[in-house]
């Protein structure tokens, strides 16, 4: 089974084979994203308890904020794993995946910061404080930006992918810091509401499921967008190969 798996893995690690597969998968993930988004939004606006005593209505922002924050970290980890594979085993497809993930990761990071700041104003009384959680999340945004600028600053695509991949790997140290900062330091930002084991029931089940489903929607969205982006990336980087030229020529 491992053998068969590795054959499949090798087969799709070739851009030529991955390109059509990605094309086929995109609509499915886009569809899933839409369904989850609708369900998630329905839960968040209609099922979740409408008014919490102290958080008022604007706590609804939780659904976007938490999902975006989770995705921002998750995408970074995935990106650096791809970068690592690309760097060590010299697999082009993996490099391209890392490249394609970065803009979406940056977007979610920005979203997490933005929604957090907006939420902070009414609830904490300030948009921003330099506590460990907020600062490390900001650093994450800088890492994404650095990744993308380094890549765009280097002409040779392979060199660009390898250099920025290395940066991604070095920066991964930041992720546990973001995640555990609320436990390690006294932060203004609250601690974990949702723990992987859910031993302490801190969140109303409706809110909990709302967050999970919105996060799933974001996840599916990410996959769809990244696959689309990686397809253009493939065309860009493989443009001298005969199969891409055939493809492009055929479309004309």
């Amino acid at each position: 089974m491992g053998f068969k798996n590795s054959i499949i893995w090798m087969y799709f690690s070739s851009p030529r084979n991955f390109y059509p597969l990605a094309g086929k998968l995109i609509p499915w993930f886009a569809g899933l994203a839409a369904i989850f988004a609708i369900v998630g939004l329905y839960i968040s606006f209609f099922v979740a308890p409408p008014v919490l005593s102290d958080q008022k209505e604007y706590y609804v922002i939780i659904f976007i904020h938490v999902a975006a924050a989770w995705m921002s970290m998750f995408i970074y980890v995935v990106m650096s794993v791809y970068a690592f594979i690309g760097l060590v085993w010299n697999i082009k497809m993996s490099e391209m995946m890392a490249t394609a993930l970065a803009p979406t990761g940056a977007m979610f990071t920005f979203l997490a910061l933005w929604t957090g700041a907006l939420w902070g104003r009414p609830s904490w009384g300030t948009y921003w404080v330099w506590d460990a959680r907020l600062t490390s999340e900001l650093i994450l945004l800088f890492l994404y930006i650095g990744f993308m600028s380094l890549q765009s600053a280097i002409d040779d695509p392979r060199r660009a992918a390898r250099a920025s991949g290395l940066l991604a790997i070095v920066g991964v140290i930041n992720i546990p810091i973001i995640y555990f900062s609320v436990r390690w330091w006294n932060t203004l930002h609250q601690g974990f509401s949702v723990t992987p084991t859910q031993t302490k029931q801190l969140v109303d089940p409706a809110i909990f499921w709302g967050m999970i489903i919105v996060a799933l929607a974001c996840w599916m969205y990410t996959i769809a967008v990244v696959l689309a982006r990686v397809r253009t990336e493939i065309l860009e980087r493989e443009r001298q190969t005969s199969w891409v030229q055939g493809l492009v020529g055929g479309q004309k």
């Binding site: 010299n90 002409d155 040779d156 443009r239 001298q240």
Partner: protein
């Protein structure tokens, strides 16, 4: 000793060469030919392990150079388009440092003799940045005199040299081949070396 297997090199959109195979044994010289932009420099850098090939491999004594870096480097001297000398340091200092970096401790006389042989007597103590183009190249070439490596990779070693220096360098290469060394070089000038076995690879084809 050196074996090149199915080497492929791609730069940007251009595939420079593909399926390149050759071997090189002790006492052999490989003259790499090709028009401007054929990929000679790229090939030499790949042979040094500075560039990753798009495909294929370079083997040294039967093992891939990527897994063998230190040992391979110990056998290798590369002279590229760039001289690799520091403009602020004198010729003596440059050579002293470059040899001690490869782990060899040379006496000053030894270095002075090498510089003298390269026709740099009287300029040993100037910072190399004021030297003329050809003199700088000579300083870089003096490394060949001082190294104990067996495999030389020379990218257009004759540029900027005047006729005496070219003659001297040709003798040096011939001696190296006679002493069972190996050389790969490129040059657009017509150069005839009377020693060892001379192979040719043409990349323009």
């Amino acid at each position: 000793m050196l074996e090149v297997r199915e080497l492929e090199c791609v730069r940007g959109d251009h595939r420079l060469f593909k399926g390149l195979n050759f071997t090189l044994q002790a006492g052999e010289l490989l003259h790499l030919r090709g028009t401007n932009g054929a990929g000679k420099t790229s090939l030499l850098r790949t042979l040094c392990g500075l560039m990753l090939p798009a495909d294929g491999d370079v083997l040294w004594r039967g093992e891939s150079i990527r897994s063998l870096r230190d040992e391979y480097n110990r056998a290798l001297t590369y002279l590229g388009h760039l001289n690799g000398i520091k403009g602020e340091l004198s010729a003596i200092e440059n050579l002293q440092i470059s040899s001690s970096l490869s782990g060899i401790n040379l006496s000053e006389e030894r270095i002075l003799r090498a510089l003298d042989d390269m026709g740099l007597a009287g300029r040993e103590d100037l910072p190399t940045k004021v030297l003329s183009q050809g003199q700088k190249r000579r300083v870089a070439l003096a490394r060949l005199l001082l190294s104990e490596t067996t495999f030389w990779i020379l990218d257009e070693p004759f540029t900027a040299l005047d006729v005496h220096a070219v003659e001297y360098l040709k003798r040096l290469i011939a001696d190296h081949l006679t002493a069972d060394g190996m050389v790969i070089l490129t040059t657009h000038q017509y150069v005839k070396i009377d020693a060892g076995i001379i192979k040719e690879v043409d990349l323009s084809a």
